[in-house]
């Protein structure tokens, strides 16, 4: 965990950026993220006009097509509240790539101001909300896959771990080559399916070898890739977004 980052105090309200992958495929992960924040006494606003961070087009080289999408997102979060994102990859796009994309454009300043308000979910829970989790679940072994963007671009792999380590009954097990990419890479998996398949096979094997009951990740792209492969092969633990995992283990359904 980086010690040089500076974080604001606990705000009254935050915006939540759900990401398109979560919106369509893993909505429970997004909901869990919002519930975790709400439970800490912070009002969560989910702007209905948000769609996608624009990363797919940006990474494919279609910068002009990404721009239009980006400007639509920025419009959705007009107030100065923090914007919390349950994905290292999308958070990296919103925080680091937006200013790149608009570097020499008239909107540069506006975009930079917006980007400074971006927080990845686990970093927000740890550093801003200073959340304390009480584990209500059964003992379990968990393997963590921190996405490359969470690990390198956002530097929040440590925050993922810190949250899981707060859970009394969770044993965190380490896979070999834990920092190696799972082979998703957005359009990479489609453009270079053979290389991607070789990479995900190794990653799935490394995770299966840990004997974990569960795979947890802060990014649904990686989960879709890795658990998709493990399900296809019929081996390996089930995967879950870290927000869903944390919420399920710390939430008493009767309360």
């Amino acid at each position: 965990m980086s010690l040089t980052k500076q974080y604001p105090g606990k705000p009254e309200k935050v915006y939540f950026f759900g990401t398109c992958l979560i919106d369509l495929l893993y909505p429970q992960a997004g909901l869990a993220g919002m519930q975790l924040i709400r439970r800490e006494g912070v009002q969560v606003i989910f702007p209905q006009d948000q769609t996608c961070c624009g990363q797919p087009a940006w990474n494919a080289g279609y910068r002009e097509q990404a721009e239009a999408v980006v400007l639509n997102q920025i419009r959705c979060f007009p107030e100065e509240y923090p914007v919390v994102v349950p994905s290292g990859s999308c958070a990296g796009m919103l925080r680091n790539q937006y200013p790149e994309l608009f570097r020499d454009k008239p909107e540069a300043q506006q975009v930079e101001r917006f980007s400074k308000r971006i927080f990845e979910l686990t970093e927000f829970l740890v550093h801003v909300l200073k959340i304390e989790l009480k584990d209500l679940g059964q003992p379990t072994k968990v393997a963590l896959h921190a996405s490359c963007s969470a690990r390198r671009e956002m530097d929040v792999a440590g925050e993922h771990e810190a949250l899981l380590q707060q859970l009394e009954n969770v044993q965190l097990v380490e896979q070999v080559r834990k920092a190696e990419c799972c082979g998703f890479g957005g359009t990479f998996a489609v453009k270079h399916p053979d290389i991607s398949a070789a990479m995900v096979a190794d990653k799935a094997q490394a995770i299966t070898d840990t004997g974990a009951d569960q795979l947890v990740s802060g990014d649904c792209g990686c989960l879709m890739n890795i658990t998709g492969h493990m399900e296809h092969q019929g081996v390996g633990p089930k995967g879950q977004h870290i927000a869903s995992f944390l919420w399920e283990r710390t939430h008493d359904p009767k309360s």
Binding site: L24, P27, F46, N59, A68, N72, E180, F188, D194, H232
Partner: protein, 472 residues
Amino acid sequence: MTQKAEFDQRVKQALDNPQLRRNFRVTMDGLMEKRDKAFPDKAFLEELRTIGANIRANALARQPELLEQLEANCTRNGIQVHWAETIEQANRIVLDIMERHHATRMIKGKSMVSEEMQMNHFLEAKGKSCVESDLGEYIIQLDNEAPSHIIAPAIHKSKQEVARLFKAKHPDIPYSEDIDTLTRSARQILRRKFHDAEIGLSGVNFAVAETGTLCLVENEGNGRLCTTVPPVHIAVTGIEKVVEKLADVPPLLKLLTRSATGQHITTYFNMISSPRKPGERDGPKEVHLVLLDNQRSRIYGDSELFDSLRCIRCGACMNHCPVYTRIGGHAYGPPIPGPIGSVIEPQKFGLENFGVLATASTLCGACGEACPVRIPLPKLLHRLRYEQVREDRTGATIGQGSQRSGKEALIWKLWSWIHATPLVYRSATRLASLFRNRIPNRIGPWSQVRTTPRIAPKSLHQLAREEGFKHE
């Protein structure tokens, strides 16, 4: 065949070869571990990387003036300096030197620039023999192959393959799979070649402008033999290898050897500052320096792509690249493989020929994290993706826009419209949720190794509304 189809074919060949994949996996794991151990103090590593990056950035910022200074100082030292704008010119310069000396036999040290020039093929076509003296290079030359790694060129071969190759090419040598025995055999064969060669050729790791000194890093001693035994030594290098002063060399050398092989120092570090002087007992009578541009000035002209020229050729980016580890160096195509190759080679040889390499990365960032001189490799790969599909062709990259396809551009336009128009997006996701069971569960190559993700019955947009989260 398109460059993509050719690349896919080479990738498939590599992926289908279990021996090759094992070789790369084991070696790259070993190299990563060695580098990690060579930098036990991570704060020191980061500090050294910053120093290295600054030295290289400074040298590049002042490159034109440093090159002039290098030329003046080399000339003063008695080294003859030649400028080559193109590969053809560089090859011609080497050939001319050989012909002036009526030379037919060249002994070579390791040089990636000579690979870039395809110098061996050029000279061989002119009736000259060029023998590689670096053990790895020698092995692949026997098999008529190109290097698969810039530091360890024959890393794709197992010792059994090398043993069989030696036996086939040198039938008089007894068959052995023992590495020391194989090395000894190669050494014996090469001794005679060193002795007979009229020309020795080497690369350059750092060319020091301040003193006109050519620095050469190596482990086998063959480099020193190439630059001292034959009467004429030719050094070939790209113009970006110039550094300002001698004091810049130690930090760069520290970074280079530790990043490459985890060594604190190499067995040999040669500093060549002149030909043999009167009264000296050894050394070449003539030293030539060939400075190759081959699009480097063009790269130099772009304020972002410029950073690609900072490279010190340590290979750490390939050692840490999950894609390189899977497919190996030959699959890439051009002389320099891996992330830095994917950045530099399309710029040198055109996006229309090698642009596909920029897409063959997950942008995982491992290369940028490993680079000892902090080249922002993912950012540069990203930029090249843009260069090859951009519509307006106002930039300077060769082959700009060459990979833009009408169909793909249309898909992104449609994608952009959907995601920039909230009402359209919401209707589209609602439809997708409604008809989620009608969506085919096989989607191309994705579902060959993965189950297809299922669309959720309710989107997060819907759930958030139902759970009482405010919209604004």
